[in-house]
């Protein structure tokens, strides 16, 4: 009740502020309100912290000044639940009147937020949420949606090719049982089988599996390598148990299985494991080195891709606003200009394709124990062993044919070589 009272009193005040804003000259400092949705409580709270820290670091770098516009950065907790994400997004739009929404961790949050952006005609930028179809088959439904991160299967396409080049013929896959897992493994399977490889097994342990004891012995012995896609605590547990089982086969994995978010907590058993992603904290370029050092000094940990992608997203927004002399150019125009950007970022050159998904380098990375960037301890790093430049979300495949096939799922692509 008090809040309603306050709001009543607030209206005339707000009105006069708006009136002042209207009479002020057009080039006066404008406020740019960015609504940021990330899980800051619950089991994904630490990932959420990386997301917020990455974005905040960029704001601190430029003193929250985007080409004259003062940035108001409003963080809301989505708790990694789609329902909550929608409520919080609505709050940001209706109450804070934000110019754009940024964030969303899980694919489900992305799927929940995109329709909100359409319904409320608000820009939604996804730096993390990677659900393939948002920038593929579903794109026409979401005119105010754009991605600055990646689509789940994007790194998998070159990775499958790379696996062929290594001479692997048969691979057994084990991955977390949900949409993101299907998409990462599905992309790998499509690419690997397109160049003559065979996926001979697919195992789907449920999300949050703590004991892989029942799954590891069932991995087929005739496989040349194992492909794994784990998330959260599963990433830590699986390699341990796999090593304990005496595995000698090479291990490949989706980017999140070995991301710097989990890497420092891992043991030596992951040395030699190979994964693919659009970022590695061990990228050897001056921008990244400076970023890693700054981030580590400030937050006491190596930045993960969650940190980098949000830092870069802030940079992209800055670029567009700067080009408009500190003004928000309107939703359609903003999306158009953001999609036209070509930037040299921490993760390398990034541009955006016509389906509003980034075109970027995909790095094949091998876990290594070494000293890096002048730090004096031996640590695990994702050393880049091969770079596939300017990969788009369809990779080596033809876009039209790709879009005719259904989105990757538990049953697609079908496991032709199983049993």
């Amino acid at each position: 009740m008090t809040s309603t009272l306050l709001r009543r009193l607030g209206w005339p005040l707000l009105g006069s502020v708006v009136a002042l804003g209207l009479t002020a000259p057009a080039n006066a400092a404008e406020e740019l309100r960015i609504g940021f949705v990330a899980p800051t409580t619950g089991i994904f709270a630490q990932v959420g912290k990386d997301m917020v820290d990455g974005f905040q670091l960029y704001l601190d770098d430029v003193n929250s000044d985007f080409g004259g516009a003062k940035v108001k950065f409003i963080v809301e907790d989505e708790q990694a639940k789609p329902d909550t994400a929608v409520t919080r997004a609505k709050k940001l739009i209706l109450q804070d009147h934000v110019h754009m929404l940024v964030g969303g961790l899980l694919a489900s949050s992305g799927y929940a937020l995109a329709p909100v952006s359409t319904a409320d005609k608000t820009v939604y930028i996804a730096p993390v949420s990677a659900a393939d179809d948002l920038t593929q088959r579903d794109l026409p439904k979401y005119p105010y949606f754009i991605r600055t991160g990646w689509s789940s299967s994007q790194p998998s396409h070159p990775f499958g090719q790379w696996a062929c080049d290594q001479g692997y013929k048969k691979i057994a896959a084990i991955g977390a049982d949900y949409a993101f897992g299907y998409e990462v493994i599905g992309g790998f399977q499509r690419a690997f089988e397109a160049c003559g490889g065979q996926i001979i097994q697919k195992i789907w342990p449920p999300i949050g599996t703590k004991d892989f004891g029942p799954y590891i012995p069932t991995l087929r012995q005739d496989a040349d390598a194992i492909f794994t896609l784990m998330v959260g605590p599963m990433s830590l547990q699986f390699p341990k148990q796999l090593a304990a089982s005496g595995n000698k086969k090479p291990v490949l994995g989706g980017g999140t299985s070995y991301d710097e978010f989990v890497l420092p907590s891992m043991g030596d058993e992951v040395i030699g494991h190979v994964s693919a992603l659009q970022y590695s904290a061990a990228l050897e370029n001056p921008k990244n080195e400076a970023f890693v050092k700054k981030y580590r000094a400030k937050f006491g940990k190596v930045p993960s891709y969650y940190s980098e992608t949000n830092y870069t997203t802030a940079q992209m927004i800055h670029e567009v606003i700067k080009n408009n002399k500190g003004n928000f150019p309107g939703q359609e125009e903003f999306i158009k200009q953001l999609a036209a950007l070509k930037l040299d970022t921490i993760r390398g050159p990034v541009s955006i394709d016509e389906m509003r998904n980034p075109v970027q380098n995909i790095y094949i990375k091998k876990v290594d124990k070494k000293k890096m960037f002048g730090y004096d301890k031996d640590e695990l790093w994702n050393t880049v062993i091969k770079t596939y430049p300017n990969v788009n979300q369809f990779g080596q495949f033809n876009k039209e044919e790709f879009l005719k096939t259904p989105v990757y799922s538990r049953d697609f692509p079908p496991c032709k070589f199983c049993n």
Binding site: V86, T87, K90, L94, Q95, A112, A114, P115, V116
Partner: protein, 331 residues
């Protein structure tokens, strides 16, 4: 002693106040109120079981889920329920949820106390498992997005219109459940809550009574689900998961079990803290926790027990003064 009439009057006044005040606030408050009201129907259905029949159900979210998924699937796959046929969906949602409750009830009603709690929990998790794993139908973890709200003469996409619709359904549900618990049937439910054995001896078929109450509660859960799907615009396994059932139970206890409107107060407080306070301060969870703990410790009858408590204290202190007046004389 306040008579039942005054209580009803207070509730009517409060509802009128909600109907007048909420649409004049900002749109986020309207959105939250709509959500709280839609969810309140589920909380009241829990209260019919918990407060009037003595059956603590931990699987009530299953019925919300069935109603919500039905609405979402019909709307996105068959474009059904987006016009006047919305009313058909409402009826279907209630019927299907009631049917599910009829099946679950067969398994659950035989148990009492903690065992009832466990069985409903397990059954609720079965529904969650289905929602989570039946990818082709439910969209799995990603859930289903509804594209728009129904339009029939009135456009429910308008938040205020939709708020009034939900309020209407809420008032109707409240009336129906109020009538139910005050009917002879409801009285015998209370009897079962107090002492089932005695009711059995008198000759009541207590199993049937509990079974019917369970089905009716399920039906109201389905109604809440249909409304919830359109309120949130997204249906996901998160709506069916255990915490949603626990939320409903806690709201009922917080407001005061066995009062119906108590559940609404509980819902408003929890939604207010969780969705509104959380946007203001990061430590909102402590406040919510403290509210729960303090209520359980000092108000076992819930927030609706406050007036009663005050009255008791007044009469008590009144008596003490009487004692004091008398005391000097005797000493």
């Amino acid at each position: 002693m306040t008579s039942q009439g005054t209580k009803v009057l207070v509730v009517v006044a409060a509802l009128a106040a909600i109907a007048i005040v909420v649409p004049n606030t900002n749109s986020f408050v309207i959105l939250l109120s709509t959500r709280a009201l839609a969810f309140s129907i589920l909380v009241m259905s829990v209260d019919v079981l918990l407060g009037y029949t003595g059956l603590p159900s931990l699987g009530q979210a299953a019925y919300l889920g069935v109603g919500a998924y039905l609405t979402a699937i019909l709307a996105t796959r068959y474009q059904f329920g987006l016009g006047y046929d919305f009313w058909v969906v409402v009826v279907l949602g209630i019927l299907i949820a009631a049917a599910l409750a009829a099946v679950f009830g067969l398994l659950a009603i035989r148990a009492t106390g903690v065992y009832f709690l466990m069985i409903t929990l397990a059954l609720g998790q079965c529904a969650w498992g289905l929602a989570y794993r039946w990818n082709s139908l439910t969209g799995g973890d990603n859930g289903i997005n509804l594209r728009g709200r129904p339009k029939f003469g009135i456009d429910l996409a308008n938040e205020v219109t939709f708020f009034y619709l939900v309020l209407g359904f809420f008032v109707l549900s409240l009336l129906l459940m109020y009538t139910l618990v005050r009917s002879p049937f409801g009285r015998s439910l209370t009897g079962i809550r107090e002492r089932e054995l005695r009711m059995k001896i008198i000759g009541y078929n207590t199993w049937l009574h509990k079974y019917l109450a369970f089905i009716i509660a399920g039906g109201f859960g389905g109604l809440a689900g249909v409304l919830w799907a359109h309120t949130a615009g997204i249906v996901s396994p998160e709506n069916v998961v255990l915490t949603t059932s626990v939320d409903a139970l806690l709201m009922a206890v917080l407001g005061g079990a066995g009062t119906l409107v108590g559940g609404v107060i509980g819902a408003i407080i929890v939604f207010g803290l969780r969705e509104y306070l959380s946007t203001l301060v990061p430590w909102w969870q402590y406040v919510l926790g403290a509210v729960y703990v303090l209520t359980i410790l000092y108000l076992p009858t819930g927030l609706m027990g406050i007036p009663e408590r005050i009255r008791q204290r007044q009469t008590l202190s009144g008596k003490r003064e009487d004692v004091k007046k008398i005391a000097p004389v005797t000493s």
